[in-house]
């Protein structure tokens, strides 16, 4: 007797090419990197975790780790502050302008990071556009040096990463019925309390997703720090780049990469737990 299988558009076997691809170009390199992070030179001593110990205990590298976390946290927070109102506006008020706003939000992602970063240099330089305007309006008397400053790094990072925040929050806000806000209003809540008691708690998933994405992506980016920071901000990813390109200390760079990877994994684990906990929704 023939068993009639229910019709399915896709079959599990369709995943095979992707899995094979990821295995060869993702999983195997990761394992290789793990092995590479052990000191090759037995003469150095200190066991297989030598580089990790160095990274965590050496005051300079520990400082870099701390700075990495600080940069990521500040960037995430600023992205949230900037991104939430944009996402809220898009969902509740934009209407037919929504497509245009989506384009404007995604546009930074469509330009090359080098172009974008140099664009900011032009805008923020001592004789750049921003300073020229501020001088013209008489708001300042002497031009500021804004490029090669931490502020430039934050501006650059927020510019690139805010789309991830906006789109994450946007997706969740779309699912919140406006009538829930209307209900809260009739029940006596003003605009702020409606936001605080209804909209915000219901959009926590989007906020969490956006924050974790931005946090992890900040940890991974080094071009912005390299081109806009003027050496004033050194994060782990920038250090890896330097280890590879200047000192060629491959083992140490691999160890740092793995630490960064671990942070990213922890972030996603956190997000996963968060979504699972809030899981069942009508």
């Amino acid at each position: 007797m023939r068993r009639v299988r229910p019709y399915r558009l896709a079959r599990p076997s369709w995943c095979v090419p992707v899995i094979a691809y990821l295995l060869v170009f993702f999983v195997i390199p990761l394992i290789a990197n793990l092995l590479r992070s052990r000191p090759v030179d037995a003469a150095i001593g200190g066991g297989p975790f030598f580089y990790y110990v160095k990274l965590l205990t050496d005051p300079y590298y520990a400082g870099v780790l701390l700075e990495t976390t600080k940069v990521a946290l500040i960037t995430t927070f600023v992205c949230l502050l900037v991104g939430y109102p944009v996402a809220y506006f898009m969902v509740r008020f934009a209407g037919r302008w929504n497509a245009l706003i989506v384009f404007c939000v995604v546009a930074p992602l469509l330009t090359s990071i080098i172009m974008r970063t140099f664009g900011w240099r032009v805008l923020l330089a001592r004789r750049g556009v921003l300073n020229a305007w501020l001088l013209d309006w008489g708001l300042i008397t002497r031009p500021f040096e804004l490029a090669d400053q931490p502020i430039a790094v934050y501006i650059g990072l927020v510019h690139v990463l805010v789309p991830f925040m906006v789109l994450s929050i946007n997706a969740v806000l779309q699912g919140i019925d406006v009538q829930l806000e209307d209900s809260a209003r009739v029940l006596g809540a003003g605009r702020l309390r409606t936001f605080w008691h209804v909209t915000l708690p219901l959009s926590v998933d989007g906020i969490a997703t956006g924050c974790i994405l931005v946090f992890v992506l900040t940890n991974g980016s080094f071009l912005t720090m390299l081109l806009l920071g003027g050496g004033r901000i050194t994060t782990l990813s920038l250090l890896i780049y330097q280890q590879f390109s200047t000192t060629q200390d491959v083992g140490f760079a691999a160890a740092m990469g793995n630490v960064l990877m671990l942070v990213a994994l922890l972030g996603f684990l956190l997000q996963f737990r968060l979504l699972r906990r809030r899981g069942v929704k009508p």
Binding site: L180, S183, V186, A189, K281
Partner: protein, 371 residues
């Protein structure tokens, strides 16, 4: 349990619980609500009945404060609320899709309005218990919203709206999302709670049966205006226009000519389609012989009999058993639309049989518009 609306000045003679004075509203150049005057009687349930796009929901949203009127003013419990935001109007509202907060328990939902008013903890808990008892869901405080059935969610939405003792309850298609049986049960239950609390209510619905079942008065709306306001039996039996007549149920429309007086407030008419067919209509207004009129006769007011003189000659097309009555579809010669007649018992007539239709003097109404 006595739950009286505590809106300021409600128990004085400060005026109607809700009063709309020449309120109108346009969206993008389209007038969805023509200047509307409407006043509610304390404790009544008024239904705004009409097809989608008739302006009934806009009217409700204007009263709730979600929209601002272009002209006119809105008074709630004697207070002008036209410029006030929804949270300052002291109203209760129940939405079609329940609109319960999914991140809160049943108790937190019901307590939300009280929390916004910073009611004390003990009073809040007491009030939540009382409201849950009112909707017969005692002890449901700690349940989560998605654990409730549709009917239960609707009852919680009602409890939440009533918890703050609003001066007026707004119901926006409250039973629209429920299936037929449950909807009928909830109609009576909602009506019962509303009567018990004596809370003035406005019910928006497109379901004529729901409007007739639940309300003290029905306001039939179309194209942004109220066509007729009256008790359910009044608008059903004495519709002013063809639209009202047909929206509230099936109606047979006949064009006719007045032939003469036939008793106090009664006139004889001859149908255009069949001049030999005579009928009697009641009309409080005087009619002149020769005057052209449009008649509406409800299918249950038509009786089927042998095709004798003076009756409307018709041929039976189809008989449908509808559970509580038999529906006959007939064609009357000279009348382009089919004629419907409902009878309690099956009539001894076969398909294609010739029958005569007639009605009692009170069974026909004269409409204001022409056929």
């Amino acid at each position: 349990m006595s739950v009286r609306p505590h809106g300021g000045g409600n128990n004085t003679t400060a005026g109607a619980p809700v009063e709309l004075a020449d309120v109108s509203k346009s969206f993008g150049g389209v007038q969805v609500l023509k200047p509307l005057r409407l006043a509610l009687v304390p404790g009544e349930m008024l239904a705004l009945l009409g097809p989608s796009g008739c302006g009934k929901t806009t009217t409700l949203r204007l009263i709730a404060g979600f929209e601002a009127p272009d002209t006119g003013s809105i008074r709630v419990a004697g207070r002008d609320v036209t410029g006030l935001p929804p949270n300052k109007r002291g109203l209760g509202m129940v939405f079609q899709n329940y609109s319960l907060f999914p991140h809160m328990t049943v108790g937190e939902n019901v307590a939300f309005g009280l929390r916004m008013r910073r009611t004390g903890r003990a009073e809040k808990a007491r009030r939540v218990r009382e409201m849950l008892a009112t909707v017969r869901l005692d002890g449901y405080e700690d349940r989560l919203i998605h654990q409730l059935s549709g009917g239960q969610q609707q009852r919680i939405a009602l409890a939440r709206a009533l918890a703050t003792s609003p001066s007026v309850l707004l119901l926006d298609e409250p039973l629209g999302a429920l299936d037929k049986n449950l909807r009928e049960r909830m109609q009576f239950e909602l009506r019962d709670i509303q009567r018990r609390l004596g809370i003035t209510s406005i019910l928006v619905t497109h379901d004529q049966e729901e409007a007739l079942t639940m309300s003290d008065r029905v306001a039939v709306m179309a194209h942004g205006e109220v066509l007729q306001v009256g008790r359910p039996t009044e608008v059903y039996d004495r519709p002013l226009t063809r639209f009202v007549s047909e929206f509230l149920g099936t109606a047979n429309i006949f064009a006719a000519v007045v032939t003469g007086a036939n008793g106090p407030n009664r006139w004889s008419v001859a149908l255009d389609a069949q001049p030999h067919a005579a009928g009697t209509v009641e009309s409080p207004a005087a009619l002149a012989p020769g005057q052209r009129v449009t008649l509406a006769v409800r299918p249950e007011r038509l009786s089927l009999g042998p095709p004798t003189d003076g009756t409307v000659r018709a041929t039976v097309r189809d008989v449908v058993f509808r559970g509580t009555y038999f529906a006959y579809e007939l064609t009357a010669s000279g009348q382009p639309q089919p004629v419907f007649a409902y009878t309690q018992l099956r009539q001894p007539v076969a398909a294609d049989a010739a029958v005569g239709l007639s009605w009692e003097p009170g069974g026909a109404v004269i409409l204001q518009d022409t056929a």
